[in-house]
Each structure stands twice: as structure tokens, then as C-alpha cells.
Symmetry: C2
Subunit: 188 residues, 2 copies
Amino acid sequence: MLSAALELFSEKGYHNVPMHEIAEKAEFAIGTLYKFFRNKEDLYRTLILENTDRFHEALTKALEETDDEVEKLRNYVRAKGEVFRANASVIRLYLAETQGAKFNVMVGFDADIRERYGKFLQSLALVFEAGIKKKRFKRIADPYHLSVSLVNLTNAFLFLWLEEPEHHPYPEDPDTVLNILFKGLLDQ
Amino acid sequence: MLSAALELFSEKGYHNVPMHEIAEKAEFAIGTLYKFFRNKEDLYRTLILENTDRFHEALTKALEETDDEVEKLRNYVRAKGEVFRANASVIRLYLAETQGAKFNVMVGFDADIRERYGKFLQSLALVFEAGIKKKRFKRIADPYHLSVSLVNLTNAFLFLWLEEPEHHPYPEDPDTVLNILFKGLLDQ
DNA sequence: CGTAAATGTGAACGACATGTCACTATATAG
DNA sequence: CTATATAGTGACATGTCGTTCACATTTACG
């Protein structure tokens, strides 16, 4: 059921997928859906929460695999690529939930999702902060801003890939993304 | 009518605003709306197109005010702040249209909007390319990637501001954003 | 087997949103 | 002042979608 819903939501968006279509794709009767989920929103919520948890777990693990801050970032960019390549249809929903247009589904932000996303931003910010303290990184901006920047940078690359997979592949080498942060555009 | 629709869409999202509510807010009867717009989607489209055109014009102008590439970028970041600060309620819709979740309104991408957005990305990429040729910039990434990066970086800051205006103001000094590109995180 | 619990069904229902249309009011022009 | 165009109205037809519920089918188990 969840995977049928996932594909449809990701393709057409929450409001353009009627329950009966999900039922049909999942090869169940409508009534059965309602045995498992209180309503459409509950189904969507479960779907999103299950997936974002899986992602954030994988991404958090990527930050913990080494002590070197540069490697942590490389692992993050690499892991994000792997996770999403394997779950292409989730990306749209994930981006929709963490980026802009949340009001499209629920009117208010979903507190749970926001909180988990916020926590991840914090733990990534800690990597930058530690790197700055250890003098591995220069303090070119506030660590939290750096965290938001890197997340959005990778999202941007994911988005390019989503739109034109063959023309804009998600980079194999994490440094393709990271050099934008690592190297300065200006000399000195 | 358009400004009534704008406020409502921006607050609740396209699918959560019935036409009669727009009519009420605009102090017209429903029938009158349909004298001016063929349908709801047409109303939305007109709204978005009018605004994105205004923005892209302002942002493109910002890139043309000087010959110095660094100043062009500063003007861009500054102009983006000004434009959106003056039109807060449009940002949500603009981000929703240019970032991720387009399928939330129309099932397919809106070709017009995508095209204009793509053109702007191109002209910003030209700034980076020119800067690299003139040796003002180091070639730390593909110019188009740099363009996408800067646009997404500023969007990220706008988004922070949207969520918590007093806690995360959009930076007065454009270099707060630009240093993330200008200065390298790593030494050398 | 028999029976009870769990799982599954889909026609029917009601709420509600879009878009229409016959009509009125107002403005413009000859 | 009449005629014609334009702007405005809002009750309602039409259709869709989320959700329910009385019933059927399968499974679990003593």
C-alpha cells in the first residue's frame, strides 16, 4: 500500500491522487486502506515519516563513520546520492517536505518532520563547528549557515538530476559538490 | 483579484483555497472571477507569471548594473533580498514553483515558468563564466553549477527568514551569503 | 471441524468545489 | 434618451473525492 501510494504521490502530488487510485494500484479495495490508515493524511504522514527516518538515519550514520571532518562531509554527500538513487520516487516528496511548499499538503507545517529535519541540520552544523575549532576549516560563515548551505547545495544537485538524469547526473565524486564550499571562488 | 488570490494561495496553498473564498476576499461574486480567468488554474498561472516576470526582471537588471563580476553577484543577492522583503507572500509560491514540488499544483511542470527560470540561471552562469575568463574567479566548479548553487544558497537564506524572520533575518550584507562561495572552507 | 477474530470488499453517502448561466446593474455612445 | 456593450451577480448543476458500513472471505486455533 505504502509503496503504491509513494509512487502515485511522487508522480502526481498528494492532491491529485484519489484514494481509489491508490487502492487500485495496491490491489486492495478502498475499505481495506481505511482498515490500516485513519484517513488519507494519516497514510501520507506514515509514508513520509517512514522514509525521512530511514534517510536521516543513513545520513547521520554517514557523519559518524570517521573522525575526520572533511571525510564526514564527503560521506554525507556520497550517502545522500546513494540513498536517493535507490529511492528516486521519494526525492520529490522529501524535497517538497523539507524545502518550500509544505502548505501544499497540510496547511500547517508537519511538526514531526520539521523537527527531525532540524535535528539533522544541527548535527551537520556540529561537524562544521568541530572542524572550525580544530582549524581544519576556516570560519567563512556561521556553522548553522554552512550546514543549511551544504544541505541545499546537495538538494540542488539532486534536483538537477531529477529533471534531467542523463544530462545532470548526481556527481560520483563528492568533491564536485564540496569544492564549492572547500575552495574559494576568489583568490587568497 | 490577483492580490486576494496571492495572499490566500501563499497562506494555504493552491488546493486549500476554494474559488468562492478568493471571490469573497476580492469582494466580487464568483461569476466575476470567471469573466476574467478561464478557470482556477488560469488565475494561478497569471498570478505566478506576472510575479516571476517582475522578479526576474529586477534580478536580471541587478546583474547589468556594473561590469565587475563580484559586484554583479553582490547586486544580485542584495536585489533578491529587497524584492522579496517587499513581497513576502510571493516567496512561498515562487519557491514552490522554482524549487521542488511543482506537481502540487499542475501535474506537469509549467513550461513557461521553467523556461524563464532556466534563462535566468543561464545569464547568471554567464557572469561566473566571464569572471573565470577574466581570472577574477577561480574555476572551482562548472559555471552552470555555480549559478544553480548561488540561486539555491540565496533561496535557503530566504527560506530561513520566512520561517523565523526575527531569528534568521535575510542578511543585509550580501557577503554573508557570498563568502560561502568566495572564501574557501579549506586552507590553500 | 467449528467458531471467532482478522482481513478484505465496494456500493452508497454526503460534503464540497468548480464552473455555468440566466439575469441585473452600470457605463458608453450615437 | 435609447440601445448596446460591459461588468457584476449568485443560485445551482455537475461531478469528484474522502469516508463509512454492512457484509463476505480468509485465517487462526482449540
